[in-house]
Subunit: 115 residues, 2 copies
């Protein structure tokens, strides 16, 4: 389990961010993380195999949307809201608004148990 790369705000590209958000599952993940809380992998419930979920989380991370932290064998994700808002002002909010009103990615859920 190697430490993944997180792009600096300056390394983030608009096209990569929009590409990362052009998938319902990833929009669902972002929605789930939008409350600002860090979540453990295990809390994330998405209708895909774990390797596929790992893939989607990687796409989000590589685009700079999320930050991954490792603690022992557990992993935690959080939304890089501040970095995003600084780099692309207003973008995340408008996407979240639209995702909410259209209920995109609703099949991605988070369990109540903290781990």
């Amino acid at each position: 389990m190697k430490q993944a790369h997180h792009p600096e705000p300056g390394e983030m590209t608009l096209v990569a961010v929009l590409g990362a958000l052009s998938d319902p599952i990833r929009v669902g993940l972002v929605r789930v993380l939008a409350d600002g809380h860090e979540r453990g992998w295990g809390q994330l419930r998405a209708p895909v195999a774990k390797s596929t979920l790992s893939h989607h989380l990687r796409v989000l991370r590589d685009a700079g949307l999320t930050r991954t932290r490792q603690e022992g064998t557990r992993c935690f994700v959080e939304l890089r809201r501040h970095d995003l808002d600084t780099r692309f002002p207003g973008l995340l909010d408008s996407v979240l608004d639209a995702a909410h009103s259209d209920d995109i990615g609703a099949h991605v859920q988070v369990t109540g148990t903290p781990d």
Copy 2:
């Protein structure tokens, strides 16, 4: 040359719009159209073959970002800014701001001659 389908605002989906914007050439096209003027195909200068340009314009149209009008054998495009702003408030503006500050899609140009 058949008449293309334009989705109603209610038929537009967030994921399709973001997917359409996850390509530098298409972002460039949107930037060029962002001044609100209608443009003829022939004014659009992009570093791709004409069939590829046709493809990109179709993706934009299918996602609901642009409207195509036909006049004789010429075609004209314009940005559906009002529809976009109504359907996904703030989204287009934040994307255009980001595209401008990062100069995304700058290799897409528009010639001065109206046709």
